[in-house]
Amino acid sequence: MSISSSNPVISAESLSVVLNNKKILTDLNFNVKSGEVFALLGGNGAGKSTTLKTFLGMITPTSGSAKILNLPVDQHATELRQKIAYLPESVMLYAHLTARENIKYFLSLAGINKRDDEINHALEKVSLQPKAWDERLSQYSKGMRQKTAIALSILRQAPIFFLDEPTSGLDPIAIDEFNQLVSQLASSGATIMMVTHDVYGACQVANHISLLRDGQLVGNFSSPEQGHINTEEVHAAFAARSLA
């Protein structure tokens, strides 16, 4: 299962989800290619988390399909999970374990064995202070937990990242650090799909942004060859759609 640069890594094809007789997602279509950062932007209740859960194989599409590496997620969930790194809005690793213990444990669950120096290297890469490495996560801030989870994803060498409101609750410095990390991951070939309501953050890191409202895609933006997507343009569309 190699990742070709031309084929979409993540794709929604007429994806619709109905839960409890309520339409949550309606006819979503998008493609994310290898090395791209795709941001799904929307307000509360727009259907962002449902989209993400569908791609994680936790919700089965009512019609259409959610595909990763051209495989329907609902039929290949276990196989595809080996390729996926997921960062929930609030990263919940084990509070009773240290950062290193968490990483070792979750790697072992994924069937991966890493040396201590490789783990240390990943923790350095995400700029987690070495003095915190052996502290239990109950002492960690949200940003530190997120860095730990990203270090875990790096060590898992997951080529595909799903990020759920990744900058929610982070301070400005932590947001900058996180955006840099996402850019680094993308430039190293990772494919990233994030759902967020942070217009500024999305414009900073994403190659493509789609606006989601009431479960439907209502706008698409792509970055120019050089530079970022225009924040004001997206913000205006987001605000207009929100007010509509």
Binding site: L56, M58, T78, R81, Q82, I84, A85, Y86, P88, S90, M92, L93, Y94, A95, H96, L97, Y105, F106, S108, L109, A110, G111, N113
Partner: protein, 477 residues
């Protein structure tokens, strides 16, 4: 590389070790289990020696009585003691309530006495912390306290999604948690295993001990599976805890009482007072063990005099008073046995109905299996009563035979005239050797194993149902 199931189990233990509350509960479980095995073991070991000693003393005391009128020895009576079976150190079963010694005497069947509960005062009643009680009631509660949040915690904290994203199936997660809890359960089971192993050194059959351990092991498996199953179904720790504690109350406390009440209402039995009055009424109609009815007496006399061809009862070569006592005892015993068998049959029917509730609660399945294997069940107690009654009847009738054959009628009827006459109405103490020594042994290992098949099947059925439920849950979730 360790399997993910083992990794999950080991991490759960790491979590417990870092959580003081869980470690405290595990220590409490272990201390309770060890303390119960030691205290019950010591107590029963002491009682076992004491009863053997008392049995010998009772036999010696009976046989060392001086020359007497034989009927006085019928009323002097004799004690029989039931020495506890080796596994009763773990499960004293109904012995705690029924008593293990009986005073045997002429003309009546006494009930067993000196039960553990009977010896206790009101406030200390049910105070004995037996290993069986700890395993059946306390250990499930501790397993709930340790494990109620095993899976729901992962869901509540959001780590469940994270684990599943690592490629671990819910099945493996549940199995890993189950293994962790099972290990905790077996730590609590360890003192019972050691206590049971000691029973082998005291003469208990290995097959019985292994089945005894198997029954308790299955019970731990059931509770561990139940805890993990409920914890998996619930998204909140609080709801998982509430459901499990409710289940514990229903299965361990309420259901056994419903079983007992149902059995009592389905097989009605008269109260002890009613039954005693009925026995007394019939016994008095028969002459109370001393006399026979006038019609029977006339017939008996006539037959004897015809048999020995004499005209007066004083001329008979046997003492008619002994013959009367013997016939009277035989008639009375028939009545007493009829009542006793009826009572035992009612008790057994009630017990058999209550045992069927083992299909509904594993506590009753384990309790039945445990008592059957330990030899502390109702059937064994009934056998003790029957064997004691055989001994009672034999020694009373042997004394009546001595009365009839070794004491002349004239000496007997004149014994209250003066002290010389009284002395003449005695037989030598050599005659007290009629007493057979009493030794009660549990059923054979095969018999006990056969009786434990049904409750063991009930425990296996519980496991099967939980496996099916776990499979269905996996599909639903």
């Amino acid at each position: 590389m360790k399997s993910s199931v083992l990794m999950i189990a080991m991490d759960e233990w790491r979590y417990w070790f870092r959580s003081k509350l869980v470690v405290t509960m595990m220590v409490v479980a272990l201390v309770l289990a060890v303390a119960s095995v030691i205290t019950t073991g010591l107590s029963l070991s002491h009682e076992s020696h004491e009863r053997s000693e008392l049995q010998n003393k009772a036999e010696q005391a009976f046989e060392s009585q001086p020359d007497r009128h034989p009927h006085r020895m019928v009323h002097y009576g004799h004690y029989v003691f039931r020495t506890p079976a080796p596994l009763s150190t773990i499960d004293p079963g109904i012995d705690s309530y029924t008593g293990t010694s009986i005073f045997l005497e002429g003309h009546q069947q006494n009930t067993a006495m000196f039960s553990e509960q009977g010896k206790s005062s009101g406030l200390t009643r049910f105070s004995q912390l037996t290993p069986a009680f700890v395993m059946q009631i306390i250990v499930p509660l501790l397993l709930i306290l340790i494990g109620y949040s095993m899976v729901s915690r992962e869901r509540e904290n959001g780590t469940l999604t994270f684990i599943i994203i690592q490629g671990v199936s819910l099945n493996k997660l549940m199995f890993g948690k189950f293994i962790a809890l099972l290990m905790a359960g077996f730590v609590a089971l360890l003192p019972l295993i050691i206590g049971s192993a000691v029973a082998v050194t005291q003469g208990e059959a290995l097959s019985v001990v292994l089945s005894f351990i198997l029954a308790h092991g299955l019970y731990v498996v059931i509770w561990c599976a139940l805890v993990v199953f409920v914890s998996t179904l619930n998204t909140k720790n609080s709801s998982s805890f509430s459901i499990l504690v409710t289940l514990w109350i229903v299965l361990c406390i309420v259901a056994p009482r419903i079983a007992a009440s149902t059995a009592s209402s389905m097989v009605a039995s008269p109260s002890k007072l009613e039954a005693d009055f009925e026995v007394i009424r019939e016994a008095q109609a028969l002459g109370g063990g001393h006399n026979v009815s006038s019609a029977d007496l006339s017939k008996l006399k006539a037959n004897l005099m015809a048999q020995y061809d004499v005209d007066d009862e004083g001329d008979l070569p046997v003492n008619i008073r002994g013959i009367v006592a013997s016939k009277s005892e035989a008639d009375l015993t028939k009545v007493l046995n009829r009542f006793a068998e009826k009572r035992m049959s009612e008790e057994l029917s009630q017990a058999q109905i209550a045992r069927q509730f083992g299909w509904l609660t594993p506590v009753l399945s384990l309790r039945t299996a445990s008592m059957m294997l330990a030899g502390t069940n109702l059937e064994t107690h009934h056998r003790f009563l029957r064997e004691a009654e055989i001994l009672r009847y034999d020694f009373v009738q042997s004394l009546n035979k001595v009365h009839a054959e070794k004491l002349s009628y004239n000496d007997d009827v004149n014994r209250y005239k003066n002290s010389d006459a009284n002395n003449k109405a005695k037989v030598t103490s050599k005659n007290w050797e009629v007493l057979e020594s009493f030794s009660f042994t549990p059923d054979t290992a095969t018999a006990r194993l056969m009786k434990s098949i049904e409750p063991l099947m009930q425990l296996f059925a519980w496991i099967l149902v939980l496996l099916i439920l776990a499979y269905k849950t996996r599909k639903v979730m």
